[in-house]
Structure formats: C-alpha cells, structure tokens
Symmetry: C2
C-alpha cells in the first residue's frame, strides 16, 4: 500500500488484529497483579488475513508516565507473540499491544522465492517503493543508508545483486524501523498492579498490644510490643499486625466472653472504635502516644519488619463522628442510630457507617484520610476488616487513591464470605485475601482448593493469605486439639501459601479452648474482650517450629510464590504431597494429615513438575529434621510419626 | 436508601455488579451463534457487597427492535443467575443483564427473623418506607394494594399481624415490580447471531453443473442440474452447492490438468470469473439463462432443498471490472495488472482484487451488490472461496449488511488456513467453516480435534462443516484408496459433524486417481478444468450408504448439533467410539478406522454422557444394518468388518 493510498484509506480498518492478550483480567477492566523487579511476560495472538507477515510491538509505561516505551515482540509461531518488560517501581503500570502487516518482510519472503530474472527485477522495484516509504520518515545516517538500498532495488539489473541487497538484514531492519505505522491496530491499555515483593511473599504475626506486657494484670503498651520485636523477628516474621489501636467505645461496651453488659474494668473490644478521646486517627491512651507508635513503627523497620494496621470502618456509639456527622449513619424510624444487627442478634456497641449517605463524598474522603494519616506515619500494610460489607466501588476508589501517594501500600482483605465477593474484592485492588484454608482439612479438600488458587485464571489477581487461626476463629479441628494438630496446620499454611499468618501467642501456645465447644468458633476467654497474659516461656511452645518454617521460607525462593504449586499422587489418604519450584530451587513437602497415628505412603512423583527427568536420581534433604535421603525416579517411600514431625519439608537436590 | 438520598447519589456507582456473562465471545465484541426457535440460556454472576439480596433481570430484543423485553432471572445459588429467551426470527439479537439490590426482599428476610415485638414494630416502619417508594411509582389497583400494605406496616401494633403482612408474597411482588431501579448496574449489550436451523444442521452436495448432462460430450446446463434434483433429494441432502456459474475468462485460460496454456475446446476453471459476457452477476451462457437459474432455485425449494452459490472475489483478466475499474487492482511497476502468485508460481489467469484500494468504499459496495443480487434471486446459502485472503473488516461489514436485508443468508467459510485466522472469520459472522477434518485420520487426531471443536469456548461461534473431499483436495488417504476407505470417511463426516458435505459424484463413485500421487492433493483430470461424465449408474456407487446416513441424520435430533459430542474409551487403536444426544435421542457410533481388516474392541461407555445410570440395561439398534443388540453397563463388545460396514451407528434405546 503506497502513501497516497494510505492517505485515502480514511476509516478503513487496519488489516491486522490482536486477540487473546495475557495477562488480562476481565478484558482489561481490572489489573493483573505483579511484583517489582520481576519480568512481566505478555502474550497475544496477532495476525492479518492472507499470508502477509505481521509484526507486534509491546508498549508499556509506569505510574504517571505519559510516554510509552516500546519493543518488538518475539514471534512464537502459529500467530502467537511474546514480549516482556520489568517494572522497576510499584504502582499502576500499563501495557498495550500493536500489530501491523510487515510489508517489507512479506516482500522479502516472496522475493527470495522468485527465480525468473525479469520477475526478480520487476519485484525489486516494488521493494524499492516500500523502502521509499521508510526513507520519507528517516533522517541522517538512516536516510542515507535507505536511499542507497532504494537506489539498488530501483536500478540494479543483475538479479544476483538484487537478491544480495534483499538479504541485507541490517538495512531492512532500518527500513522496518521507519516504516509507516498508521494502519496498525492497537489494543486497549491493560493495567498491571505492580507491588513490592511483600505483597506476594509475607509471613504475618498478629498480636494484641494490650496483652504484650510481661506482667500479669498490667495493660500492655506499644513499648511492650517493641520489646517483643526481637523475638518476633527471630521467629522470621515480616509483618506484625495489630488489631485496632484506637480509643475503645464505652457506650454499650461488651464484657468478657462477649456478654452484653461490661463489668467494671472490662476493656472492651478494640473493634468498637472511638470514644471521647477520639476516633480512627487517635490512639488508645493505655497503649501510649503517637510518639510511642512512631517509635514502634521505626523499631519494626530497624529489624526488617513492619507494622500492619487494622482498618475497621465502623464506630462505637461514642465515636466523635456520631455527633459530628449524624448524616453518616442510618436512623431507625424512632430517630435512634441504626446499630449493627443480624436479627435476632443485636450488636448495639457497633454502628455501621452508611456508605450510600447523601453526603457520601465527604464521608469517603474522611475514610480515605484515615488511611492516608497512618500511611504518612509510615504504615505500609493494612489489614482491612470485613471489606465485603462495604461497597465495591468504595474500595476500588480508596485503594487507587492511597496507592497513588503511597505505592508501597499493601491491603489484606479480611473477607470470609462468598467466593464471588472475595474474588471481586481481589480484582478491585486488594493485594492479598484471607482464604477458606482455615476450614480445609482433608486431602481432597486441600488438593482441590489449592489447585484452584494456584492454577485458575484467578491467580492473576487473587493472592491467598492463609491463616490457621484468627482471634475470631478457633476452627473445630483445633478445638481441644493436640499440639500435633497445631504443628500440622502451621506447616500446611507455611508451605502451601507464600503468604500466611498466625494469631499469636495463642497459636504457638496451642490455645485450644472454645467458648461453646462444637457450636461456635469463638475462643473461651477471648482476647477480643480482655487483656491476656501469655506464658511465652512455656517449653511446649511451637515457637521453634515456627522459627524453622519461616527460616525455610526465607531461604527458599520456591516457597515465595504460588504459581508453581503441584500436587503429587500418594497411595494414602493421610499423606499429602506437593511441591513448589523457582528455577533450580525445589521444595517438596510430604505431610501427614493424621495428627494421631504414624502414616506411610508410596509417593508417585510428577517429575516433570519438578523439572527432573523420568529416571532422575536425586537427594531429598529434610529441612525440618536435617536428614537426607537418596531418591530415584517416580516412586519413593515416606513414613511420618506425628509425635515427631508433621511433615518432611524436603529441598530437592538434583 | 430513600428517594431523597437516591436523588443525591449523583455518580455514586451502583452497589451490585455483574460478571462472567455467558454466552459471550470476546466480552461481547463478537456475537455468539444460536438457532431460531431454540431457547438461549444466559447465565451470569450478579451480586452486591454484604448480605443484601440482589435481583437480576435479562433484557433482550430482536433485530431492529428498540425496546427491550425483560424478565426476572432465576437465582441458582452462590451468586449465579440464569434466564432464557427464545428468538423467533433470524437476525442479530441482543441481550443485556441488570442487577440491583433487592431492598424489599432483604428487609423481608431480616424481618422474618426478628423476635422482640418492639423491634418488630420498629422494623415494620422501615418496610413501610420501602413500600412507599414503590407506591410513588405505581398507579391504579397496584397503587391501592401498595397503599394498604404500607398502612399496615406503618400503623399496625400487633407483631403477629405485621409478620403476616410481611409474608404477603403477592403484595411484595407488586412492591418489587414498582421499586426504584435507578441504582442498578447494567452490562453492555451482548450480541447473538440467530440463524435458521440450516446454519447448524445441513448436508451439502457439491456438483459442477457443466458435468450434469446425461450425455458424454455435451456441456451440462441448469436444466440438467434440475433433472438431478430428485436424485439428490432422495439421497437426503439439504444444500446443492454449485461452483461459480459465471462467464469464464478466456485470457490466460488454463488447460486440462491445469496446464498453463489451454487447447481449443478447453472450458477453463469456473473460478477464473468474468469475460466479455459479464462478471459476478452474469451467468455462463453454456449453463443457461437467469430464467433457467431461477427455475433451478425454485426447483430445489420445491424439493425441500436449496442452491448454494460460490462467492469467489477474484477476476479473470477479461472480467469487465478490469477495464471499468482499473483502480480496483494492483499494478506492477511495469504498469501491468498484478496477477495472483505464490513465488515462483504464477496464476496469470487470476487477478486478485485490491481490497485496500483508495476507492475501497465503491469497491466494497460493488462486492456487496454482487451478493445482494443473488440473494434477491432467492439464494440463501453462500460458500465463500478463500475468505482468509481478504480483509477481516470486509467480511464483518459485508455479512452484517447482507443479513440486515436477508436474515436467512448462510455463509460457509472455505478457509483452509491457520487456526487463528479460521476462528476470526467465524467470529466475525461466517455461519459455518471448513475444517481440518479432511486431514484428521487416526483415532488420537480425530478425538483431539473433535473434542476441541465441540467443547472449547470456540463452540459459541465456530460451527464445523466437515468435508472428506473437495474439488481441490483428494487427500492422501483417499488417493488410490478402496471403497471401504471412502465409506469410512463418509460415515465419520456424517456422524461426527452436524454440518458436512461431499464433492460428488466424485465421492460416491470413489474417484481416487491423483494427478501427482503422494505429492499433490489434485485430482487427475480434475473437473476444475474440464467437463466430466460421471457414470452415476455404477452399481459400486456409495449412493445407498449416503442415502442411509442422511436418513439417519434427518431422523435423529442427536446428530443435528455438536455440543453433546462425547468420546468413549475403547481398548483398540482402530475402534473409535463416540456419542451425541438430544434429550432422549441418543446416537452411539462405533467406527472401524482400519479399512483393510476386521477389528474388534471392548467399549467402555461413559454412561453419564449418554444420560444412563451406571448399571443400565439398554438396546442398541444399528441404524445401518438394522440389527439390534442388548447391552448392559459400561463394558460392551463390538466387531466390525470393513468389507461389510465401516461402523455401527447405533440408536440407544433405554
């Protein structure tokens, strides 16, 4: 197509098309998730009608950039293309693909097959026309080189010399560089949410600051928490997550074990946020001051860790907003403020916020300002309480707004709810999500659920964060359970998921007493309603196992992402076997799901998933016990005594 | 949310969202394909945050309609919804989904769980507010009914009576009908290309009219074709497809067996379209007149069949357009018109059309007018020659334009090319597509390919039409092959695909002589370049088998679509077993892929795919041989002698 014709093509659609772009979430409506410093591989189908060759380019730009960087994609055959770029900073990146007919290469390909000299000479003139189009867009040395090429193709009579000219790859690369591109097709811009590595690989430790004091009976403070940081860092955690640290409401305060009326001295639930001392940007006076908090945040950073805040957008009746912004709350027909309820249950110590209030813009801004306040205090990780009870549009807006100023902000969605709702929250921006791991116990349950999490399309946006317990959930299988069961669930969480957490010290001390055995997942004497004193010096503490597991996680890149997770067959319902891989780093876990009895199994390894040949000989080194075994081929034997260890966590040395 | 607040919500996004809409092709960019009179089932995820109940509606409209019909969707649990509508006419239909929070049902659900009478009374007032919103939008009897309900909820003091009022399903259905809907979310409109049933279920018979004369040496005419119609109808075909019927170019005409220079009396290829007698809207004088053609079209319709035209957008050098519209063709640098070529091969009897010419609007319109011309002559099926060498945008535009005036038009894409290109053509509107069946021979090849065709997402838009041969393709496995091989390939095509065709009488007469054995798929003495005389009375003709297979197809709805295709294991590499189902109609085919030897196998039936219980006893009735056998459970035995029959084509009687 020559220039004059191109000028007249008007709204004639480009010949080339692009389909099947990856990564994409809902055709580009939402961002795929990636990590700073790791190449983003983009693939697509790009093609035109007929036999013309096409050329695809990948454009990308970082947060706030207007200009695109551009590179040629690699042709994989069968109309498939691949390209990649490595985001160097966190934030919202974008990529876009273009595809166009490569008239120059199409001409060269046909030209090489021509035999008749007269035909060769005539076809060379067509090549000259194509080169002239590039020449018109080139300058300087490029222009001279293209002019020379064009002259040869235009005037040379010797077919052999013409053929030689057509094979000048350098000159034709130049011609392609300057070729007209007005008839190319372009995709929409696909967003990629690029986060720091902690968004994918993180070990969380939740603790109540008020129970951090070493002395029974004394209310803990930030200073007490700071004194515990060395110990938590030694256990290998990355993120210390604190339940809400704000003033706790006094009106309708709940007592110990959630009884409706508090007794004198009852401290209330930290999630009943707000009192006369202030609301979501204030600090509970008994914990310390903002200066103490800053000191704690710095203290965590000094130890290579960070503090995560709890974002719970609800208020106690005496939260200052209730008086200052009555329009942010629903009213009952009798004029009273609507409390939280799940009929016939009433939660009169909590007022939900009305996100659809007529004054929603001011409300949303105020909520944004809460998060921004703590982000400015150096907090970069936020665990969001019950995000599924607030509008989707709010979270999508809030997270984008906060990330614009604070691109390192990580948001963990505590939404234990229906799967579609959990996925939607992940799509719209949450970095990580709580999962159903908490209730997945059997071999088929674990296999099915983690295969889905790691292999479904949702892995582009849904990053699981697995918790064996939380302050709200002492699952039935942990109620009155043995330390072996606690070891087992801990080991599963730490090796199945690159992000996991425990609520401690309850977990490592195997706190197993339910308030209502078998009918509720509440802890007896729950820390949610009282100050606890934990005997962390208990020799039965699982802290050594926690420490060992986190050390393995920190040393092995295989455990730092989830996409490579593969399950291997075993001939026992009790032995679960799975592996993860990162390059030549391979972890193979064989877990005994029976906490009561020794179990053994023949394992049938999927050697391809491990990147090993069928008849491979290799060593498996148990990172928990320190023992090594020579293994060979697919079939190998394991035996596990739950009294000694829940699992082999092998590194595979090929 | 009350009205005053809603009025102020401004651009506050709706709470509810919709995801995962089916059927959709590329997120609604292209139309899914369906058939007139058959319900279109639409599914989606529709949900909001929190625990509010939602309500999804399905809207749809037919071609040219401005208003949507609307119906409530059925809730399937787990945030899934289903609805369906039945298109009553062919054309481009659209559907759209809405989802909104159902405040009324959410209120009723919570209300039913309230116990405390004071709480019940207060909550009833909230219900009254919701009913008032509906009341404001209702009139007549609805208004009166809602007013009464509102009064009860507002003023009644007796909790039992309030509970009874809240359980009045009829009144609340009215309230829901009139509830405000300004905060609902809506999807884009998803297109569905609705075609007549022949677009999915059709048996094609291709013949060259010029060979239709009964007398050796005489050029056939439309009248001769008409005389053959009874016989073709008796064989059970639906569509008689004629290669181009236009004047054949004389300039550079090719001779028999495609030799470069024609001899006197050589008739040329019908695909070299155009001569002094006219172009794409003219009729080759030796075939007859337009009146004869009209008579033929009517004759086919009288017999329940139809004539398909060949649309080949290319011209012979003496096509009138070459002189009238020189700008529609590319020029070589010496000023000559660019002929078709695949260097070093030249096809100087064919000029491609330049679809990207500066005059493309006039050109495209002229090409459209060609199709429209024949559509006005009553032709409703078009087999398009090499659509993959013309721009995608052209076909998308052309097919939509033609269908607007002629919604019954069926387009068959003859694109034997790369898979992505074939799929793109199907997406943009072709009703059916030629396939790789022509070259899929072994059990794994057939199983993989047909599983993909019938089960992949592409089944929403790609409808296979399977041909064992074409005038261009005598595949290697049919070259010098026995009648048993011809019977085998015919049986596979007719039972694997709801649309299939043969090029006859070459096929039923087992024409097996290649021009260049093993190196080309061209027939010896190809009908493309000469008039043939076929001995249709040959007692070895496969016409009886063709007749039987088409009769089975016409009698069994199971064979009239592809989505239910399922393969069943057998313990022989030679025995292929598959089934199709439509309600209680079940066809089970067991095919011997070895045309030389008797083969037997144990078949391991997937009884679930057949809709049968695991221990079912049933009768299989061979529709080819007439024999019946009692079968039981999964494992059953078959033995097939290729000298007698290529297959059992069982109907399964449970």
């Amino acid at each position: 197509m020559n220039d004059a014709r191109r000028a007249q093509r008007g709204d004639l659609a480009p010949e080339a098309v692009i389909e099947n772009v990856r990564p994409s979430v809902d055709a580009g409506r939402f961002a795929a998730k990636r990590i700073v410093g790791e190449p983003i591989e983009v693939t697509a189908d790009g093609f035109a009608h007929g036999h013309e060759k096409t050329l695809c380019t990948l454009r990308y730009r970082g947060p706030g950039e207007r200009d695109w960087a551009e590179l040629d994609m690699e042709f994989l055959g069968n109309d498939r293309w691949r390209g990649s770029f490595t985001p160097g900073s966190p934030g919202l990146w974008q990529f876009q693909l273009t595809c166009r007919v490569d008239y120059l290469e199409s001409w060269r390909e046909g030209f090489a097959r021509r035999i008749d000299p007269a035909d060769v000479r005539l076809a060379a003139r067509i090549g000259a026309q194509l080169v002239a189009q590039s020449l018109a867009r080139a300058s300087g040395a490029d222009r001279e080189r293209l002019a020379a090429l064009g002259r040869t193709l235009e005037t040379e009579q010797d077919a052999a010399k013409l053929r030689a000219a057509s094979q000048d790859a350098t000159a034709f690369a130049l011609a392609r560089k300057h070729a007209p591109r007005d008839a190319q097709c372009e995709t929409v811009a696909f967003p990629v949410a690029v986060e720091r590595a902690r968004a994918r690989f993180s070990s969380w430790y939740e603790l109540f600051p008020r129970s951090a004091s070493g002395e029974p009976g004394r209310h803990g403070t930030f200073e007490d928490v700071e004194e515990r940081l060395d110990e938590i860092a030694a256990m290998g955690f990355h993120i210390v997550y604190l339940p809400p640290i704000h003033p706790i409401g006094r009106a309708k305060r709940k007592g110990r074990n959630n009884v409706p009326v508090a007794s004198d001295g009852d401290v209330g639930s930290p999630w009943a946020i707000g009192a006369e001392e202030g609301g979501h940007t204030a600090i509970h006076p008994q914990l310390g001051t903002i200066a103490d908090f800053r000191h704690l945040v710095r203290g965590a950073k000094l130890r290579g860790m960070e503090i995560a805040m709890d974002i719970a957008f609800q208020v106690a009746p005496d939260h200052p907003w209730v008086a200052e912004h009555p329009e942010w709350f629903r009213r009952r027909p009798d004029g009273s403020v609507q409390y939280a309820e799940n009929p016939p249950k009433k939660y009169e110590d909590i007022y939900p916020i009305d996100f659809e209030t007529a004054d929603w813009r001011a409300l949303w801004q105020a909520l944004h300002d809460v998060v921004a306040f703590w982000a400015r205090e150096g907090v970069e990780a936020f665990r969001v309480d019950n995000p599924h009870t607030k509008p989707f549009a709010f979270w999508e807006w809030l997270i984008a707004e906060i990330r614009r100023e604070h691109p390192n902000a990580i948001f963990l969605s505590e939404a234990f709810t229906r799967p579609r709702v959990m996925h939607r929250l992940a799509k719209l921006g949450f970095s990580q999500s709580y999962t159903y791991f908490t209730w997945r116990v059997t071999k088929p349950e674990l296999t099915e659920y983690f295969t889905q999490l790691s292999q479904d399309d949702s892995r582009e946006y849904f990053r699981p964060n697995c918790w064996p317990n939380t302050p709200d959930i002492l699952p039935y299988h942990l109620q009155d359970a043995s330390p072996a069961m606690f070891r087992l669930r801990l080991t599963l969480a730490a090796t199945l998921a690159s992000a996991y957490g425990i609520y401690g010290p309850a977990y490592e001390l195997c706190e197993n007493r339910p308030r209502d055995p078998g009918t509720s997942e509440e802890y007896l004497d729950s820390e949610k309603y009282e100050v606890k004193h934990w005997d962390r010096g208990d020799p039965a503490s699982l802290a050594p196992l926690v420490t060992r597991l986190n050390a393995i996680r920190n040393a092995h890149p295989a455990l730092q992402s989830d996409a490579s997770l593969a399950f291997h067959d075993t001939d026992s319902d009790h032995i679960l076997c799975y592996s993860k891989r990162s390059g030549s780093d391979r972890i193979l876990a064989c877990v005994n799901l029976d906490p009561h009895n020794t179990q053994s199994a023949w394992v049938d390894l999927d050697l391809a998933a491990l990147g090993l040949p069928e008849d491979a000989s290799f060593t498996v080194h148990d990172e928990l016990s320190g023992a090594s075994y020579p293994w060979r081929g697919r079939r190998n034997f394991v035996m596990l005594d739950p009294g000694r260890a829940p699992a082999h966590v092998f590194s595979v040395i090929a």
